[in-house]
């Protein structure tokens, strides 16, 4: 038994995982059109390399970027590009971003360039990295950080962690993936092992998913029997069901006892952490040559008529997914992307499924959650529940006052917005809401301060320059005057001489 650690805080939550029966994965009919945002990842948006009217194949690159922190976008099915315009993206703010819209031709025809790799074993680490990058793979746990950027660490990696924790209530897409595609995940781990040379590989799964644990263990066993000796280095570890154990920082603490340095990245302490979905996507990119064009999405919630896991093409309008899943059973339905703790309420359900869409949660709109908000009684429950060891009650005061220095002193930027503080608050204060607001205010403030600082410096430089020019002019003037006087004196002298002579 491997020793496990605990992180401070966290909450125990009812799971509601059985609702979406993770043992089955359903497919959806092809949508009429797919809407593919050019930024489905953290970093620079990709730039379109197709034109309106162009015919595209499934898996064809339609947008790409030269930036290191970015990811390509691929056509998720075959058809014709009909629009490159701004569309609603699935975000709680309801913003629109540039998207490529493809009218599907119903054939779902793969690009002829995509061929399975006969000998994936023979690829070297750099070739694998290039392919991962070209496949547009990003962290599918929700953070959507371009995976290729994670896989070239500058120091020795001790532990590779594959995150199958899935701690949010309701969501079961990773559970479903682990049960339906355990081999892909394990093969993916072996590929990653080749890239990173870790001392140990851990697949971490919450102990409320015994079937997934069983499936992964079975797959490892099967590969061992087939003579694949390297699987011996992979450990499957059941971690206690506490929210948010699936958070990267919390999981690292639980499995290794180490903490990711403040404002730092896991590799600095010798750890790389990837989601199980990402791992399977990497495997498919290398073995099948297929880029990231679909993902598992859990459709669930008290108002979902047919809660289940679906394999969904990226770009499929969320409305289509809801329709295919039997629609909703009430009118006052909130469409949430993600789980109930950290998900986003979507103002536009016609926005598409993107790489980050792990769950579509359909439940009653509950405007009453924050009715009767009472003053903070400083009970400190929020601080006890905070998995980052922050003091939410202090942050709350300073967020209300917008005192940015204090917010910084109390480490607002370390807040992971997990929601633990909000749900344990007896005064029912929407703490996370305040923190999100304060974070954006703080960012604005920083930008404004920077601009002010820049213009201050500019003004100073300009003043100094003007001063210098003035001084130089005066100096020249003085020089000229002196020269003139000198000349005059010399002339007078020579005149005198001439007179005398």
């Amino acid at each position: 038994m491997k020793k496990l650690w605990t992180f401070k805080g966290g909450v125990k939550l009812a799971g509601f995982k059985k609702l979406s029966r993770p043992s089955v994965v359903k497919s959806l009919p092809l949508p009429k059109r797919v809407i593919l945002p050019l930024r489905q990842h953290i970093g620079e948006p990709a730039e379109p390399i197709v034109e309106v009217g162009e015919k595209v194949y499934k898996g064809q690159v339609i947008a790409t970027s030269k930036s290191f922190i970015s990811a390509s976008v691929h056509a998720s099915t075959s058809g014709t590009v009909v629009e490159i315009e701004k569309h609603h993206i699935p975000h709680q703010s309801g913003v629109s971003e540039l998207c490529i819209v493809i009218k599907t031709d119903g054939k779902d025809e793969w690009s002829p360039n995509i061929k399975p790799n006969q000998y994936p074993e023979n690829l070297d680490a750099d070739e694998i990295r290039v392919r991962i990058r070209e496949a547009g793979i990003v962290g599918l746990g929700g953070a959507v950080f371009p995976s290729a950027a994670k896989l070239k660490p500058t120091r020795q990696i001790d532990t590779l962690i594959i995150n199958g924790v899935e701690c949010e209530p309701y969501i079961t897409c990773d559970d479903a993936l682990m049960q339906s595609c355990p081999d892909e995940i394990v093969q993916g781990v072996l590929l990653l092992r080749k890239l990173l040379n870790p001392l140990e590989c851990i697949i971490a799964i919450e102990d409320n998913k015994p079937d997934a644990i069983e499936a992964i263990k079975g797959s490892i066993e099967k590969l061992r029997e087939q003579g694949e000796g390297r699987v011996a280095t992979i450990k499957v570890i059941a971690v206690p069901t506490v929210f948010p154990t699936g958070g990267e920082k919390q999981l690292i603490k639980v499995l290794t006892g180490k903490e990711v340095p403040k404002n730092g990245l896991p590799y600095e302490v010798g750890i790389v952490c990837l989601n199980v979905g990402t791992t399977a996507a990497i495997r498919n990119a290398i073995y099948q040559g297929t880029p990231l064009v679909s993902r598992y999405v859990t459709v669930t919630g008290s108002l979902a008529k047919q809660p289940a896991n679906y394999e969904v093409l990226l770009g499929t309008p969320i409305d289509d997914v809801i329709q295919a899943a039997g629609n909703v059973s009430a009118d006052n339905c909130a469409v949430i992307m993600g789980g109930p703790m950290m998900g986003q309420l979507l103002p536009h359900s016609q926005s598409p499924v993107v790489k980050a869409t792990n769950c579509i949660l359909l439940q009653e709109i509950r405007p009453d959650i924050h009715n009767n908000v009472m003053p903070c009684i400083r009970c400190g429950s929020c601080a006890s529940a905070c998995p980052m060891n922050l003091l939410p009650q202090q942050l709350y005061w300073h967020a209300r006052e917008k005192s940015f220095q204090k917010l910084d002193h109390y480490n607002l930027t370390d807040c992971i917005e997990c929601g633990c503080c909000s749900i344990v608050c007896p005064s029912k204060i929407p703490l996370v809401h305040y923190f999100r607001f304060a974070k954006s205010e703080m960012k604005d403030h920083e930008v404004n301060t920077k601009i002010a600082e820049q213009s201050r410096v500019r003004t100073q430089v300009r003043e100094a320059r003007l001063e210098r020019i003035k001084r130089e002019q005066e100096a020249r003037k003085a020089q000229r005057k002196a020269d003139r006087l000198k000349k005059k004196a010399a002339k007078q002298k020579s005149d005198k001489k001439a007179l005398a002579g």
């Binding site: 401070k8 709680q92 109930p340 009767n372 009472m374 400190g380 370390d414 749900i423």
Partner: protein
């Protein structure tokens, strides 16, 4: 500053919180029941008259203040916070106290210490203790007339006679108020020490029970039971009660080891006076206590030590209330300098 006007949020988490201020407060009231019940059983109806009069007047003042301050009456009147303040204050006042004293105390607690400082969540000082301190300083005689346990006196008042005395100062014929009262153990120790007697002799007095003051030791065990239940229910954190008991225990043990003739033993300090009630119910008042784990330890240890200091060297037999008020002043400072290291700060 009411938060209720905030527009409904559309951001996560979408899970409602399962606990409310009212439920927290109600749980604290339940936890007081064993101690209060034993108190009434051992000391008679005078305990109940205290609780009833303070609670009713506190609710009245709360209602008036909510109206005056234009706050939602229904929400705040039934958050039980005023009731807890009232019960704690009434337990700190000697049973059978006259009504005007009780109403005055409740006025100071609710109107001055609570609402004039901004109401629930904003008050700097523990309202019950602030009011107790005011009464103790203003009416030292009334505030030190503790009645005897029923077992120690042949005379007692039934419930109606108790109300008659409290409201009209009328006692049944042939009864003297002095006959109903006796010194508390801390008070007794203090007076006897001042006459030059030493503790080994003093502690042979009938005011002593098995652990501390006769009668009071059982009440304190009742409060201890409720306090432990609050810990179990995670309504209060362990740091404050633990630190108070340790702070008081260690300082009184030191005194006792150095000179047992003039320093009472730790058991008397812990099981006598307001220690248990203070450690589990008063100092743990979330609004006025420190909120960080280390801050709570320092806050509690300070209360423990100050209680010992006031009892041993100060001008009052018990020092819990003053200790709580004094440490309360340090809370903003404690909270600021004891903020825990956030995740990853050590690794950096």
């Amino acid at each position: 500053m009411p938060d209720n006007n905030m527009t409904a949020t559309a951001s996560s988490p979408f899970v409602p919180s399962t606990i409310s201020v009212a439920r927290v407060m109600r749980t604290v009231i339940y936890a007081l029941i064993p101690g209060v019940f034993i108190y009434i059983a051992l000391f008679g109806w005078g305990v109940l008259t205290n609780i009833l009069i303070v609670t009713l007047s506190a609710l009245l003042f709360e209602w008036i203040m909510l109206l005056v301050r234009d706050r939602p009456v229904k929400v705040y009147l039934f958050d039980f916070s005023a009731i807890i303040t009232a019960i704690l204050l009434s337990l700190a006042i000697p049973p059978l106290a006259p009504w005007w004293l009780l109403v005055l105390g409740s006025f100071f607690a609710i109107v001055v210490a609570k609402h004039l400082y901004g109401g629930l969540g904003y008050n700097t000082f523990n309202p019950a203790m602030a009011a107790y301190a005011v009464l103790l300083i203003s009416f030292p005689l009334e505030m030190s007339m503790w009645i005897s346990p029923l077992s120690e006196t042949s005379q007692s008042l039934n419930i109606i006679e108790s109300f008659e005395y409290v409201l009209f100062q009328v006692l049944p014929i042939n009864m003297q108020y002095d006959a109903l009262t006796s010194a508390t153990v801390l008070d007794y120790v203090r007076t006897e020490l001042s006459t030059g007697k030493l503790l080994p002799e003093i502690s042979r007095s009938p005011v002593f029970g098995y652990l501390a003051g006769k009668g009071f030791e059982w009440i304190n065990l009742g409060f201890l039971l409720g306090g432990l239940w609050l810990l179990y229910k995670k309504i209060i954190s362990w740091q404050i009660p633990m630190a108070i008991l340790t702070g008081l225990g260690v300082s009184s043990l030191l005194g006792y080891v150095i000179n047992p003739d003039i320093y009472a033993n730790p058991l008397i300090h812990i099981m006598g006076g307001a220690t248990i009630l203070g450690a589990f119910f008063i100092a743990t008042d979330p609004v006025t206590a420190s909120t960080t784990p280390l801050g709570r330890v320092i806050y509690g240890a300070g209360i423990g030590f100050l209680t010992f200091a006031i009892r041993s060297w100060g001008g009052y037999p018990d020092g819990m209330a003053f200790a709580v008020l004094l440490m309360g002043m340090l809370v903003p400072l404690l909270d600021y300098y004891t903020a825990p290291k956030v995740y990853g700060e050590r690794a950096r």
